[in-house]
């Protein structure tokens, strides 16, 4: 027995229609079970099983639905009786087991545009950070299943304490602009004929998405979908998204009209940032799953606005394109909003009654209050009467010709957010070599 052997042996695992799961046994505490070192093949099944269990296993293997080997063995080499195998696994699993900053424990996170206090002027306490996942939970039970709080939960997990000591609040000029643009859409939502028939899918860089959603408050229930952890060398700068959420956290607790709010799915566009297996980067990317068309329709949602940054092609990202096309096929109106169409109006064109965090100037659709309310005519969506007479904007709107189409299936999406880890096997025993990210000087791809 080697000391490096995993303490909990998988006795049996199931991945089939009838059952998913596993049963583990800690050999170090067991007095009656065999302690032989299993090879990869002998891991299929318990080290000692009774006959009825064995027959069940045979049936399982016949069904081909059995998952035991940890990840995909991609390479293997051998020298002097030891083997190095490369185990491909989910990056998040690796972080959970080795710590949030695994392989880069001495690398500091960078905090551009750091500020000392949150949007409401208060500093951030450690206690509040730990409550972030609960605090930012959707305020309606209806949206709870769609909530993806993985990012907010990292603070309570392995390596989270060290990270929380580094965490700074951030507020960049881009976030402030996104907040103001969110406010502009919030003002339009005030006039929506039926606000709860609306869903917004905000697909901007993480901090900007959070800021935009904050600007929408309290007219839209924010449903965050952040399914990764930060990493000092992460492809996705998720630490900044977390910092932005902490900065605006107080904005999301406002719900005076819980029955008449739209829903807003808050995504991080960098979740699918380009990555080419660079050894100095950690692949903390991920894909999101928006609710099905039937799920939206059950909630009475009939219109979806897909919000994208300026300067980008009028396309949906690959992991949401299929779903948006499904919405359209089901009769849900799906339109695109480019942030570039929400522009700042000079102070002399801003009505005195408007409320905004901006003094003197504010954002409107196509730059002025008259064009702003043309938004409803442009999309042919019903609204209540606008406070000013709408006028057609002189320029065309971004994404006006866009309609959702099913994306060509991308097989590489299945490889998003995975990391290869070298492991050393010696004399038939399999163990983690502990060399990941160190001996190789980087991260496997």
């Amino acid at each position: 027995m080697t000391g490096a052997k995993e303490p909990f042996d998988l006795q049996v695992g199931y991945d089939q229609d009838e059952l998913l799961g596993g049963r583990w046994w800690q050999q170090g505490l067991a007095g009656t079970y065999a302690t032989g070192i299993p090879t990869v093949t002998s891991r299929i099944g318990p080290t000692r099983i009774d006959e009825s269990r064995r027959s069940a296993l045979k049936m399982l293997l016949g069904l081909g639905g059995f998952v035991v080997v940890a990840g995909l063995v991609t390479t293997r080499c051998s020298s002097s009786g030891s083997h190095t195998t490369t185990i491909d696994q989910a990056s998040l699993d690796l972080q959970r087991s080795r710590g949030l900053a695994t392989g880069a424990e001495n690398v500091a996170f960078e905090w551009p545009h750091a500020v000392d206090t949150a949007a409401d002027g208060t500093p951030l306490s450690a206690l509040e950070l730990h409550r972030l996942a609960a605090e930012l939970r959707p305020s309606r039970n209806l949206e709870e299943p769609d909530y993806g709080p993985t990012l907010f939960q990292c603070l309570q997990e392995t390596g989270g304490a060290a990270f929380s000591r580094q965490l700074r609040l951030v507020c960049s000029p881009q976030m402030r602009a996104a907040y103001g643009r969110g406010e502009a859409i919030r003002e339009l939502l005030e006039l929506a004929e039926e606000r709860r028939a609306w869903a917004l899918v905000v697909d901007l860089p993480g901090p900007d998405s959070v800021a935009f959603a904050a600007g929408l408050q309290p007219r839209a229930v924010a449903v965050f979908q952040f399914h990764n952890w930060p990493h000092p060398r992460g492809v996705v700068p998720a630490h900044l998204t977390l910092a932005a959420a902490a900065y605006y956290r107080h904005r999301f607790g406002l719900a005076p009209d819980a029955e008449q709010r739209a829903v807003c799915y808050v995504l991080d566009r960098d979740r699918l940032a380009p990555y080419a297996n660079q050894p100095d980067r950690f692949d903390n990317r991920y894909v999101v799953r928006l609710p099905t068309a039937a799920s939206l329709q059950n909630r009475g949602i009939r219109r979806v606005l897909y919000v994208v940054p300026e300067g980008q092609p009028a396309d949906a990202l690959d992991d949401v394109a299929e779903r948006l096309a499904e919405y359209a096929a089901a009769g849900i109106g799906v339109r695109m909003l480019g942030l570039g169409d929400l522009t700042l109006a000079p102070a002399d064109k801003v009505p005195g009654t408007a409320s905004s965090s901006y003094t003197g100037s504010r954002y409107y659709w196509h730059g002025g209050p008259g064009h702003h309310y043309w938004f409803w005519h442009h999309h042919d969506w019903p609204s209540r009467q606008a406070p000013v007479t709408p006028t057609r904007p002189p320029t065309s709107s971004f994404g006006a010709d866009w309609s959702p189409t099913r994306a060509r299936p991308r097989q590489d999406l299945a490889q998003v957010g995975r990391t290869a880890e070298p492991r050393t096997t010696s004399s038939g025993s399999s163990s983690s070599g502990g060399s990941w990210g160190r001996s190789s000087g980087g991260f496997g791809g």
Partner: protein, 183 residues
């Protein structure tokens, strides 16, 4: 040395395609392998977080704490696993099929940290056994276990297929009549 059995089951309303269920399946699937202590804790921490999120959607549940409970542990895990040998048959009555059963089973050496922790959490008057707050407290206990003093653990999601589900009617009927209505 005698071992303590601690088991918890929750029937969660989670229809096929529910993102919560996909996350649960993803977590369990990713851990079906030999696990170091930290990964055992990670597994149960993730399951606990998900169960806490779904507790308001859980109408039925069960928990048990049995000193000298090795045979209970064996009975439970064997029962659940043996059930899976039968091909899944969906409820044919037309009832809405939108529930999954999540099972957590542990075998804990008595007088050690985990058994003591669970024993304290389960020391409740009978009037509290069915309370939602009790289930919440027990779920919160899972990641607090000292896994160095856990002899055996088992995590199951039934059914395992993403497109399958129990109806609530089935979970209230024969074979599942031990499930308590959560109050």
């Amino acid at each position: 040395m005698a071992d303590v059995f601690f088991g918890l089951q929750l029937a969660v309303q989670s229809p096929p395609g529910d993102p919560w269920r996909l996350r649960l399946q993803s977590v369990v699937r990713a851990h079906v392998r030999d696990l170091p202590l930290a990964d055992q804790r990670g597994l149960w921490g993730s399951i606990a977080n998900l169960l806490l999120q779904a507790l308001d959607r859980s109408a039925l549940g069960f928990w048990d704490f049995v000193p000298n409970g090795r045979s209970e542990y064996d009975d439970w895990v064997q029962g659940i696993e043996d059930d899976s040998a039968e091909p899944w048959r969906p409820d044919g009555t037309g009832a809405r099929m939108d529930h999954v059963l999540v099972s957590a089973m542990f075998l804990l050496p008595e007088h050690e940290a985990s058994a003591e922790l669970v024993g304290a959490a389960c020391d409740l008057p009978e009037s509290d056994w069915r309370r939602r707050e009790t289930f919440r407290r027990l779920v919160e206990t899972l990641p607090q276990l000292d896994f160095a003093s856990v002899r055996g653990s088992a995590a199951y999601v039934t059914p395992g297929g993403e497109r399958l589900a129990f109806s609530l009617r089935e979970l209230q009927g024969e074979g599942y009549d031990y499930l308590l209505r959560i109050e």
